[in-house]
């Protein structure tokens, strides 16, 4: 099952030149590999290792979370809304699953 990603802009429609906060949430358990289940077996590590944020196909930020990132992690950035464009978020985890989401940034 691909990783589900949510993207939100605050404010939703920024004015040109305004600061916009980009919030990305990936729905993922982010197992650190140190936790044990009820029978005492170690739950194998399974966390997102790479998350790329692209604006009009140009990489603007890359996150490399370690096992020390919470479940259903939030990734928030701030950027200057200079022009409208398409934000694309891609990610992959340790088991090789990938996720992708595009969102359009429109100016007011």
């Amino acid at each position: 099952m691909p990783i589900n990603i949510l993207v939100r802009f605050t404010p939703a429609k920024p004015k040109a030149g305004e600061e916009v906060r980009v919030q990305i949430v990936a729905q993922h358990p982010m197992e650190p590999g140190t936790r044990r289940d009820a029978s005492g077996k170690v739950i194998p590590a399974d966390h997102i290792t790479e998350l790329n944020v692209l604006m009009d196909n140009q990489l603007i930020a890359q996150v490399k979370p370690g096992p020390g990132t919470s479940a259903n992690p939030l990734f928030a950035f701030k950027m200057k809304a200079s022009k409208a464009g398409q934000i694309k978020v891609t990610c992959k985890d340790l088991t090789g699953q990938t996720g992708e989401k595009t969102a359009d940034l429109t100016l007011a």
Binding site: P32, P65, G66, G68, P73, A76, F77, M79
Partner: protein, 153 residues
């Protein structure tokens, strides 16, 4: 020199040395709760190839984290650098007592020097935000987070 004098003198010297080392470490870092430089050093060397001594404590880095976190599994962290956006290369975040001290690395390229996320903290320890600048400097801000329930167990 007889034995008694020697003992007195050496005891004084040892006490002095201990005091001095305590003073310098206190100056370098106003004691944070639960810090574990040895474990942190391991992570720093692995990720940055730098030691704790190479980091500069800076007011330009702002780290927002709770002083007391109920659950270590979900600690909100916000890092902001008051530097021009084109000078910041990456933001790293470490926690002293985690088995793997590196929490995350973010490489920024065209966004403002700001990042917010939620992290796991294993036990009461300082969280350290390290901003890597384009000219190779590492600026740090630390804050101790007290954890009631660990986030990695």
């Amino acid at each position: 020199m007889d034995r008694r004098k020697f003992l007195k003198a050496s005891a004084g010297a040892v006490a002095g040395a201990m005091l001095a080392s305590q003073l310098t470490s206190a100056l370098a870092q106003s004691a944070l709760e639960g810090e574990d430089i040895a474990n942190l050093e391991k992570g720093l060397q692995q990720v940055l190839g730098k030691g704790f001594k190479d980091l500069t404590v800076s007011q330009q880095v702002k780290l927002v984290a709770p002083t007391i976190a109920e659950s270590g599994a979900n600690v909100p962290v916000e890092i902001e650098a008051s530097l021009p956006a084109d000078q910041v290369k990456a933001i790293h975040c470490f926690s002293d007592k985690n088995a793997n001290p590196l929490l995350f690395t973010v490489v920024l390229n065209g966004v403002l020097p700001y990042y917010a996320t939620r992290v796991r903290v294993a036990e009461t320890a300082p969280v350290r935000a390290i901003v890597e600048t384009k000219d190779g400097k590492f600026l740090m801000a630390s804050q101790s987070v007290r954890v009631t329930v660990g986030g990695c167990g």
